[in-house]
Symmetry: C2
Subunit: 331 residues, 2 copies
Amino acid sequence: MKTILLKNRPEGKPSLSDFEFVTEDTDLKINTGEILLETTYVSVDPYLRGRMSAAKSYVPSFELNKPIQSGVIAKVIESKNENFQVGDFVSGMLDWKTKQVSTGEGLLKVDGSKAPLSAYLGVLGMTGLTAYLGLTQIGKPVAGETLVVSGAAGAVGSVVGQIGKILGLRVIGIAGTDEKIDMLKSKFGFDAGINYNTSTDIAADIAKVAPNGVDIYYDNVGGPISDAVLFNINKFARLIICGAISVYNNKEHPKSISVQPFLVKNSALMQGFIVSNYASKFPEAMKHLSGWLAEEKLTYTETVVEGFDNIPKAFIDLFEGKNKGKMIVKI
Amino acid sequence: MKTILLKNRPEGKPSLSDFEFVTEDTDLKINTGEILLETTYVSVDPYLRGRMSAAKSYVPSFELNKPIQSGVIAKVIESKNENFQVGDFVSGMLDWKTKQVSTGEGLLKVDGSKAPLSAYLGVLGMTGLTAYLGLTQIGKPVAGETLVVSGAAGAVGSVVGQIGKILGLRVIGIAGTDEKIDMLKSKFGFDAGINYNTSTDIAADIAKVAPNGVDIYYDNVGGPISDAVLFNINKFARLIICGAISVYNNKEHPKSISVQPFLVKNSALMQGFIVSNYASKFPEAMKHLSGWLAEEKLTYTETVVEGFDNIPKAFIDLFEGKNKGKMIVKI
């Protein structure tokens, strides 16, 4: 049985030395009401970087020398809880361990016959809910409007863009390689894409492909890309701030172009989005997401890395944009 | 008859040479349906700086070599319009002229017996509406919450703070002199004030007087003061972006601390506020404002400058914080 602990709080970009592997030989025993789980898939996500720092945030910091947690799919291999049978698969926030004991609290059973198990970490999990609810609850899209998505080839971004198309928006994605831009257009149906690594003027490039301006910006990255979008927003624009991966690794508070003058002159709205605030809307969102997936209106990409030992590296690779879509480790 | 034209678009801080006075001797004649107005009071406001630049904004730019407009109280001195009698006073957006002809469109009659005429440019005009509607429509205050107001000794800020107290908030004002801070507390009932010119750490000083964090920020200034507030915002904070006077004079787009990480981690909202978007709420707002004024729950300060020729200087003085409350020129 292996466990991954947080050894150091990362300074700047996380490194392998921030993590520690512990191997134990003890047999895990379960009590009445408990289940024994074997980990099948582990989700690695940018927001975990925030939990690794000591700074106050919307979720508690991970403790040093304690296991890291993230979204996990696991198989029930022993059960003393009547709600779970051996062979069931569950999803939930679980430790980075090959095996662990749980009371079942907070776990959802997932059905591998309806969709691939890993989808419950992605398009049918927090990723899909984050995309759907951020876009609809804050973005309030109206058919015919223009949506810009940053981190568009990422797990959330690629779902946001597809939902934007389903809802009748013009959709522009920003990503970091030509290969990703091609994928956004050919696989996910985006109307246009901008490669921020080769663009010499992102604001001007947005203006070219968004001739009517930008009504909704689904922001996963922050930093200079988001600065460029500001120059193109329309009156009453809605800016959904879902993440700021470009600045999570900064030690100092980074500076960007002041947003206030842009917000005033456009009566625009910027709002931080955390999916857990919208739990009451999860059933509605899941209905749409699973329906669209079944109808093949929604597709997804995963980057699957094999092996428990590769979890830290897969996490670190997120910050170099090495993933396409959801980054998942298969155990 | 004198008129003030916009001669140059200001670069950086406006200067007297950006304005041109024209004197004409012609008698103004009115046609059927028109009225002849003599200017009584002229309002000078920070937002006019934006209209003096050529940049696209929420209101059209002033044209070069044409009269500047702002909120004005004027007396009807001749009338061929049955809705207006000689001796009536009106308020509206009018030219910086000693006399002018109008059809009466967009003008409101104001009653000098109910409140001083100049109040209709301030607490019972756009200033009061801006304060009330920004705070209530975006801020959505709940009694017991903490409100921080920047530009607190300004026309809008001092009314915002008083309304905050009426609605049961803890109110903290940020302003630039000890004299202003004293006034906020003694005259307007603010709970605490911070002098940004003498504070060595505005963020820490806010934390001291807002031990429960900041729920609502009514922002008139932008820049480093607003950066400092970000470090103190609570989950679900609402940031009303009413103005950004600290950066209006910048030629380049100024940089500030990136707001996105703060918005994400607090699920916070930032929204640009323009009072004209809320015209349907004006009657409700006026009812409250005039009621509170009559009950003496609301008071106000004016800085009244005398003489038509001093309008440009009064406007320029706004950017040096020389006003207390609403800056008005009496003709």
